[in-house]
Symmetry: C2
Subunit: 317 residues, 2 copies
């Protein structure tokens, strides 16, 4: 594992946090911090396993409340957690929500947030279990913790990618900030199919951009990787160059795609057809290398390091 | 159950939220929103029950960062959730933490928060399972969700108080804001003993003051109550009248005591002795009445409604 000093931005912050908080492995942590979800083992008197994940979304950082409205902001706060559950191939069970309301707000803000949460909660059969509301001098903040159960294919983590594996994604990348980041389909159904068939050796959801997320999967699995630029599927939202970025750069760096990235053994054509028939259309984008080879992007101009340029709010300060 | 229109402040906000979010009872919600904790039933493929609770703490509302320091603020953010687990007689299993860091902060803030969390996590054997960190233009915000397992005495909720029950608390009340609110003992051990002996018909932790919390327990159980002023144990921190409040007023209204309030059948002297020997020293403060009688405070001057005056940040706007 990397030490905090090797990292930057949010990865470094989380590494510092967990270096202190999780210095000794606890037997209840079946899957410890460092993946999309953790898995907790419940004690023998009332056994079971629960999968948990948390995301905190803040107005002005993860959404623009004035622009998108409360329903979409709240919907996103649950969707991003469902996407984390998908990365673990978990089955959503319920969620908790903590809301910090700004003092200066529309009187119907809370009700509209509740409606946005309810829409997504109903869509994915993931009921609200409880919550906490506060008022403070700050931006609207939505803290969601989703709980899931172990899916029929077991738990998938970021650990387990092997040299020679193929890297695939479940859909096209880039341009999400045009609006798609607010209302997307968390890949729960696809993850379930993949896990039931034992396909993913390692999996995560793409929240901060392939160039920032792939290194996380590689660190967790202690491998390197090469992405073939020509194979990265570019979303229609990013087909035109914007803000000086090419479509490929948008697909690599924009973030908030919420597609799944997975490492798996090469698939035979028949296996690929069977997955497609089950609703999972994987696009191969590269392969897993030895850790010493680093993380590379191959383009017609040659192979070069794939530098992280995805969104990191710690690095935007 | 009350409707949102009957309520005020945070109770009203939560009622509005859950009226929309939890309009239909979901089979996964063994204990739905409206108690200190919710209980989620995990699906048959991977069965079990998990107890969850969330509290969001904000600088300037729940602590004063400049005064108390990051370690105490973070410690409190976990302690208040452990106190909610205690109210359900749950066994702590692990927690998730979401941190929103202010842009203008000391460089060691995150590390000091982690140390504060780790101290409490180790003390109560409740490891950090994961989390999320952000930077935003706002106050330090700490969102903790604690997960627990069903304790050996089963789950206790706010529902179940019966007319004729005694109301008791696990310790003295008032004056917590002098400093005790930052570092207290969540009554996990006491709750376990009480639940194993089947004592509590209904239970909750006193976070917002007896005068604000008792009505919540009464609403959930559809009962009334009478508190005998002379029996309410006043904490040494509140023995002197401060800010124009008498010691009794401080004990009734200050809040953040984090003692347990429970309704139970009258105890024989031998039962009380056995509880004391097991480390639980209950103080009887009143009794459960029919709902129509309301919630009363009896003093030498007579019996009058016990008006909620505990802390409510919605009402402080």
């Amino acid at each position: 594992m990397s030490t905090a000093a090797d990292l930057e931005g949010e990865d470094r912050a989380l590494a510092e946090l967990f270096a202190i908080l999780a210095s000794e492995k606890h037997p209840a942590l079946v899957v410890p911090p460092g993946h999309d979800c953790a898995v907790l083992s419940l004690p023998a008197a009332s056994p079971g396993r629960v999968i948990v994940t948390t995301d905190v979304l803040v107005d002005g950082v993860h959404f623009d409340l004035a622009e998108c409205g409360p329903e979409a902001a709240a919907g996103k706060s649950l969707l991003v957690n469902l996407s984390d559950l998908a990365a673990a191939a978990a089955v959503p069970v319920g969620f908790e929500v903590g809301v910090v309301l700004p003092r200066d707000r529309d009187p119907d803000l809370l009700v509209r947030l509740a409606r946005g949460l309810a829409t997504v909660a109903n869509r994915y059969d993931c009921p609200c279990a409880g919550g906490d509301t506060n008022v403070a001098d700050g931006p609207l903040t939505l803290a969601v913790t989703a709980c899931g159960a172990v899916g029929p294919g077991g738990v998938v983590t970021r650990t387990g990618a092997r040299v020679g594996d193929v890297l695939s994604v479940t859909g096209p990348l880039g341009g999400s900030r045009g609006g798609r980041h607010l209302d997307f389909v968390p890949r729960l159904a696809e993850a379930r199919v993949l896990a039931e068939r034992g396909v993913p050796h390692a999996m995560m959801d793409l929240s901060d951009g392939l160039s920032r997320d792939l290194p996380r999967l590689c660190r967790a699995s202690n491998v390197g990787a090469e992405v073939e630029g020509a194979r990265v599927p570019v979303h229609p939202d990013a087909q035109e160059a914007t803000r000086g970025a090419t479509p490929l750069e948008a697909a690599l760096h924009d973030g908030e795609d919420f597609e799944l990235l997975l490492a798996h053994a090469p698939l035979a054509g028949s296996e690929r057809d069977a997955l497609r028939a089950a609703g999972v259309d994987l696009t191969e984008i590269g392969r897993v290398l030895d850790a010493a080879e680093g993380i590379l992007l191959r383009t017609p101009a040659g192979s070069r390091p794939l530098d992280p340029q995805g969104y990191d709010h710690f690095l935007r300060e």
